[in-house]
């Protein structure tokens, strides 16, 4: 694909220049926050840091972290850095636990967010000639408005469909020849199945690309969406606390997402110690908003576990790349000193042809961690020979060892035998916590 950029100068900026730009923005931003957000000022005071200590991006590690708990404590206005009369928009997280998180935007903030989404659309080959169907929810959720703003900036004909009503989605997609679809990956898969049921073949579907985010998805899922819809499927990353989708976006290479690091500086830290880890290490992703005005979070801990890398990308962008998050710090298990994420087990199972119906059981016996994975047997793998099934258990354990670095004991169990609570399977039983 011939490369196009929405903001070429930024997206292909030499690294040293980018660092200078980030430093200038950070120095200004820390002053702005210190003077306008008493909540964060007190965190800095506690740590004995003043704006004068922050002279470049290299000083970022001196600043205190913000967590989801801080956002809840400061609800609703505690982290607001601009007078309300300067704000033009509010978005909110769905807030399944505890209080909602609300984020405020000035016009400047909306503009830079739209720019980020525009970069994502252009990176997948989008231009003003495209018809962009936005099937993310519009409302407090950031998905719909974010991609809508980006599509406007690019100059696409934007179809503000919002999510749901699949019949209507398909009608607009086919009647108006939509070329780019933006929605969650699960909804993309759902639309794909519906099209297939109606007899559409991939080549009859006008779409050429999709930008899918807001929930975790696997490479297998990407492949299946690409095959059903006859498109290239791209990942996009974001969080309401930072701005929404577009914090990072995938390019034609489809090997991780470029971070819009002129606006959002990414760090990887050790989730236990808070220490910044060198590039290429796996750890918790932390974002600092370098130039947002109304809701500028400094060193916000996302709880997403991922890896950053600055290897040269074939698309020509110099922006640092983040891997697809491997899990959440909340889900992370430490077994025999190794970080294990349930999502990794799931990946292995799908790759080996099993259903992702599994349960991890961890215990401690004689001061050693035991690590067992129960996997439901499938109809097409079942044989009448014990030796075959034992070999299957062994080979699954081997595949998991390659993925995780430690060896589990795998037990194949009867279908639907793994305990489910309210329809959702209980994925992890950690008996170590009980003692």
């Amino acid at each position: 694909m011939a490369q196009n950029y929405y903001q070429k100068e930024i997206e292909t900026m030499p690294i040293e220049e980018m660092k200078k730009l980030q430093s200038e923005k950070l120095v200004k931003q820390v002053k702005h926050v210190y003077e306008n957000v008493p909540y964060y000022k007190s965190l800095m005071d506690e740590k004995g840091v003043t704006p004068d200590d922050i002279k470049s991006i290299d000083d970022l590690h001196k600043l205190p972290f913000l967590t989801k708990a801080d956002l809840r404590d400061a609800y609703p206005y505690g982290l607001l850095a601009k007078p309300l009369e300067d704000c033009v928009r509010l978005h909110s997280t769905s807030g399944t636990t505890g209080r909602r998180v609300v984020a405020f935007y000035t016009q400047h903030d909306v503009d830079l967010w739209d720019d980020c989404c525009a970069r994502a659309i252009v990176a997948v080959g989008g231009s003003k000639k495209d018809v962009c169907q936005v099937a993310y929810g519009y409302g407090l959720f950031t998905g719909g408005f974010g991609l809508n703003g980006g599509a406007h900036k690019v100059g696409c004909l934007t179809l503000p469909m919002s999510s749901g009503n699949t019949e209507r989605q398909i009608q607009f997609m086919t009647d108006l020849q939509a070329t780019i679809l933006c929605c969650t990956p699960s909804y993309a898969a759902y639309i794909g199945e519906a099209l297939k049921e109606q007899g559409y073949k991939p080549e009859d579907i006008p779409l050429k690309a999709g930008i899918f985010g807001a929930e975790p998805w696997t490479e297998e899922m990407r492949q299946s969406i690409q095959d059903t819809l006859g498109i290239k499927a791209y990942d996009i990353y974001g969080l309401t606390e930072s701005t929404g989708p577009g914090v990072a976006f995938e390019c034609s290479e489809q090997t991780g997402m470029h971070v819009n690091e002129d606006h959002f500086f990414a760090e990887i830290i050790d989730p236990d110690t808070g220490e910044v880890l060198p590039e290429g290490s796996k750890g918790e992703l932390v974002f600092t908003s370098l130039d947002k005005e109304a809701f500028p979070l400094l060193r916000y801990r996302t709880r997403d576990i991922c890896v950053l890398s600055r290897e040269k990308c074939s698309c020509g962008r110099t922006l640092i790349k983040m891997a697809k998050p491997m899990g959440r710090t909340d889900d992370m298990l430490i077994i025999r000193g190794v970080n294990v994420f349930p999502s990794q087990i799931e990946t292995v199972l799908l790759k080996e042809g099993y259903e992702p119906n599994y349960q991890i059981v961890v215990d401690r016996v004689n001061n050693n961690d035991t690590f067992e994975v129960n996997v439901e047997m499938t109809a097409d793998k079942f044989t009448d020979k014990v030796s075959d099934i034992l070999a299957m258990e062994k080979s699954l354990a081997g595949a998991m060892k390659i993925m995780l670095g430690i060896n589990p004991t795998v037990h194949l169990v009867a279908p639907k035998s793994i305990a489910r609570s309210e329809g959702k399977a209980v994925r992890v039983i950690d008996k170590r916590k009980l003692v």
């Binding site: 079942f382 009448d384 020979k385 014990v386 030796s387 034992l390 037990h411 009867a414 639907k416």
Partner: protein, 143 residues
Amino acid sequence: MAIKQLTVFVENKQGTVVSITDTLAKNNINLRALSIAETQDFGILRLIVNDEAAAEKILSETGYLIKMTDVVGVKIGDAPGKLTAALKVLDENDINVDYLYAFMARTEKHAYVVLRVEDNCKAEGILEDAGFHLITKEDIDKI
């Protein structure tokens, strides 16, 4: 020629086997033979029944993993050394027996042995040539 064996994946949980035989009995399916191979994690229940299609349907609907397997059935005279003779002839012809189980006839003075091998036709040929009587679906119905 081969006979049909129902193979059921069972959990190593008390009562599982009883619940399977109970389900079959309630549906008027007669068990001819039954064997269980157990490991620490799971069991594999192998059944010979009078109506395997009906049994397969009922057990699948109840949620069990079922596989229909072709096995060789052979009639063995009720005298010492007969089974050994059958196994010997297979071994001499490089036929590997994955597993076997035996059951007694109710009336006749015969034992029956079920053999699981890779190549049923070959094993059957060898056994017949050596003078053994193979059992068929009809024999099962009469047992």
